[in-house]
Symmetry: C2
Subunit: 306 residues, 2 copies
């Protein structure tokens, strides 16, 4: 019985320390230093090399180091019988909701626009109550963001695959609900999971259904956004701008046109930084549950992708 930590390009040390703090005697390997692949039955993973999990014939669980699991589910070589779990982190909800609030307030009161204009030209602003926030994705994070924005007097609606009930939030779902949802949304926040259905969902066709001058905030995944369509729609003034925290290629390449665009506000994927110490408890609990053949917590469905 052994646990594998696999996060190439990321410092594994903090994860090892956090796990050893909980269980000093745990049998632990850090990729790529694995002596006995057949002993690995639990992997703690972030952006593993494609196909690598085939090397561990007795692997039963892959635990994502974060809330997202698309870095796992996008690998077609993951056997169907492996369980995949994600992190549900209260701090992550707090970080994400305060981050989205900061982007929304920044947009509403034109802080970055004034900052980069460096000239004394007051811009018109809407009252908070005049903005209709539309959140795509009403999972744990989407709900936390909705509640935070409602508490700050914004009107909030949401769209998700299946119908959700959140007090004070007008909720839409499915293909048919999408148009209704979009046509009233002045400020769109994307918090969708990344699946084959949601990839490229932020595209021209969607943007054209928003009211003229709507604004886009993407804090989910870069792959949700068709970058060229965003630039075109801003140029045509269908959109007034965007705040982007996630990109197809991270770090965002220095020559990318987003960097210099006056209407695009860029942050370097900082919505929430997961602290291993705070989330290792959940990961370790699932490890014990696996050993005792108990149902795992925060399990995702491989086929749905979330």
């Amino acid at each position: 019985m052994s646990v594998l930590i696999i996060c190439p390009g990321k410092d594994a040390k903090k994860w090892v320390e956090a796990l050893k703090d909980l269980e000093p005697r745990i049998n632990l390997s850090v990729y790529p230093e694995v002596q006995e692949p057949e002993n690995i039955n639990y992997a703690i993973s972030w952006k593993h090399p494609r196909g690598i999990f085939k090397k561990y014939p007795n692997l039963r669980v892959i635990a994502s180091m974060g809330a997202g699991v698309d870095h796992i589910t996008s690998d077609p070589e993951i056997p169907e019988n492996i369980s995949i779990t994600r992190i549900i982190d209260e701090q992550l909800c707090k970080d994400m909701s305060s981050f989205v609030l900061s982007l929304v307030m920044n947009k509403v009161r034109n802080i970055s626009l004034h900052h980069s204009a460096r000239s004394w030209e007051p811009l018109m602003y809407n009252q908070v109550e005049e903005e209709q926030i539309g959140i795509m994705g009403l999972g744990t994070l989407g709900e936390a963001v909705a509640i935070k924005l409602l508490a700050n007097d914004f009107k909030v609606s949401g769209w998700s695959k299946s119908k959700k009930h959140i007090e004070g939030v007008q909720s839409y779902n499915g293909e048919r609900g999408l148009s209704e949802f979009l046509k009233r949304t002045t400020l769109l926040v994307c918090l969708l999971p990344l699946t084959s259905e949601t990839e490229n969902i932020l595209n021209k066709e969607l943007f054209e259904q928003l009211p003229k001058g709507a604004y886009i905030i993407n804090v989910a995944r870069g792959e949700h956004l068709v970058e060229h369509d965003l630039l075109e729609m801003i140029d045509k003034k269908q959109l007034s701008g965007a705040s982007l925290d996630v990109f197809r290629n991270e770090p965002l390449p220095q020559e990318h046109p987003f960097w210099k665009h006056p209407r695009i506000n860029i942050t370097p994927h900082i919505a929430s930084v997961t602290d291993p110490k705070k989330v290792i408890g959940q990961i370790f609990e699932n490890y014990k549950r696996m050993l005792e053949n108990l149902p795992l917590k925060n399990l995702i469905e491989l086929r749905k992708g979330y």
Copy 2:
């Protein structure tokens, strides 16, 4: 009996329209077109020319067009027997508190810093709960801002001339309370009235009493801040930066060093723009009260200056 509107450099038309909408038969003059100065007994004013009110021997009330009255009280030639009133505007409280929230969130999550750096270097951020907001000035606006920030999980304390009680806010007052207040404040918000006592209060001596790396937000008046001291304290890293909405000279001159400073976030006095239609009711009510010799509302004390 006649009302004078006096706001050089500002469009008086909206004020005339708003007043005529309420009382079409009102006897109204707009400075400098005044036929019978001795008829003027009520002035609605914003930044009048110094000494001008001596020309109206029967003037009884000066109503400020906004929440601030320093543009009136700073004129030494205003006779003591003239009543001065200010605007208390719920929208102004809402605007100010959402504006301060936007500046605070912008600071906490480094939005403008990331935006202007244009490079992929995630900056460390504090959790919202780790920031200790200190509000200088706990009048109507200061209280609204305190409540808004408390509701967003910030720790909030306040300092004012006399002791104030706001639930959840640690309140300090007077000279002796100031040091205690400053030494715990990581994010200082200035919402003081401008008086001879508060002019230049944001100076080196005050900044040195804050914890290293504290941040300044000034949304009150440019005259509160000693500009050179701010620049020096940022250069010495005693302060991490500032967001300024008000300046000694407005518009802020193009050659002013604030414009290009990477740690100073500038907005062109946009915290709240007063809508004449929304506040004319209070001004007109005080006019009727004056005619009926009833006590005026939102009266300020000339000697205190607020």
